[in-house]
């Protein structure tokens, strides 16, 4: 699996980032101003313009080598959206993308930390720890940050999972954002993120989020996730500008199309 390279700092790109989400609708416009619309999901595309500045020689070389290996727009690669939550269905924990352990009860429509009602109450009725996880088909060797808002009316310690790494987080009766950062198995092509509740614990959670960077940014809702398995360079040319010794700039356009 070819994957778009992270920078040395562990991030995917730099600001500014321009993202275009384009759907496709076939419209039959009638003379009276009404219209009949048909969806064309296969025609949807997502594009990103990534502008890099002050890249080191090493970072520039990695980008150039990757562009050469992909032969411009010819070959596809896995791209992780730098401005999205990589987890799919972050506000529907009963969706099939989530794997809940059998003794874990999930109930939604609970008040969340942003004033909405998108939090979930997780209750572990089992005798042992129970987990709620989601697997991403993304390179495990990347730097990731998994974060989630959580609280519990009783003091409890939960465990956050990032691949084979885990971290404990003590919760109290106020919302707090707990997180874990790190990398997974260097050779794996998928990585699992999750929350583990001890026996008997009841915890409210909201906004699970995974990003390919060392620290969390503001919570981003999403149903599609941010892992694009067959993205491509939009252009066949890679243009760079060297502004100083060990300082380079480049702009990269990436395209993902449902139909490709």
């Amino acid at each position: 699996m070819s994957v778009y390279p992270q920078l040395v700092s562990g991030v995917m790109s730099q600001f500014p980032i321009v993202k275009q989400r384009r759907m496709r609708t076939v419209v039959n416009a009638a003379a009276d101003g009404s219209s009949i619309k048909l969806a064309d999901p296969a025609g949807a595309t997502v594009g990103w313009q990534l502008r890099y500045a002050n890249l080191s020689d090493t970072e520039l070389a990695a980008l150039q080598q990757f562009f050469t290996a992909m032969e411009g727009s010819l070959n596809s690669f896995t791209f992780l959206d730098p401005v999205a939550n990589l987890l799919a269905w972050s506000e529907d924990l009963t969706n099939a993308v989530w794997q809940a352990a059998p003794f874990l009860t999930l109930s939604g429509d609970a008040p969340d930390s942003l004033g909405g009602r998108n939090a979930w109450r997780l209750a572990n009725s089992g005798e042992g720890a129970q987990t709620l996880t989601q697997v991403l088909n993304a390179p495990a060797c990347y730097t990731y940050c998994f974060s989630v808002y959580a609280f519990s009316s009783q003091p409890v310690t939960i465990r956050l999972q990032l691949g084979s790494n885990s971290a404990q987080a003590a919760l109290n009766s106020r919302w707090s954002r707990v997180q874990i950062s790190g990398t997974g198995d260097a050779t794996a092509s998928s990585i699992e993120f999750g929350i583990e509740l001890p026996a008997g614990a009841t915890v409210n959670v909201f906004g699970p989020q995974v990003e390919a960077q060392p620290a969390p940014s503001a919570y981003k809702t999403g149903t599609t996730g941010g892992v694009y398995a067959s993205a491509r360079f939009r252009d066949d040319a890679f243009t760079l500008t060297s502004t100083d010794v060990n300082h380079h700039a480049a702009t990269v356009n990436i395209l993902y199309a449902n139909s490709l």
Binding site: S34, S35, L38, A84
Partner: protein, 121 residues
């Protein structure tokens, strides 16, 4: 029916905001210079251009997700006119695409156009 999402401030749009009301009339001109006009539609249709800046990532993601949920211009939703607070129940995105620019952390901008649809007879 879904409603167009508001910002964290509860506002729907920011300045500069644009609104258009569009009629569809026909004119028949005669050789003597007179003309006859008639309505070619059941009533006016409205359109709002919503330009948003200084958005945080949560607000940007909410707007993007709303576009995805509506499959671009396909889906219908209700929109409350920020000028007169009247709610129009049959609206959609005018365009299938949305550009989201992240200038820096907690500082994004985007622009969308919402249009009122005419119900099928």
């Amino acid at each position: 029916m879904a409603s167009f999402p508001s910002l964290k401030t509860s506002a729907v749009t920011q300045y500069p905001a644009a609104k258009a009301v569009k009629f569809q009339n026909q004119v028949v001109r005669f050789v003597d210079g007179t003309e006859q006009r008639y309505r070619d539609c059941a009533g006016p249709l409205r359109q709002w251009v919503i330009r948003l800046s200084e958005l945080d990532e949560t607000e940007m993601a909410t707007l993007e997700q709303f576009l995805v949920s509506n499959q671009g211009s396909l889906g219908n939703f209700s929109f409350t006119d920020p000028w007169d607070k009247q709610t129009y129940s049959n609206c959609s995105f005018a365009d299938d695409a949305m550009n989201l620019t992240s200038i820096e952390e907690m500082r994004g901008n985007t622009s969308v156009t919402v249009q009122e649809n005419r119900a099928q007879p």
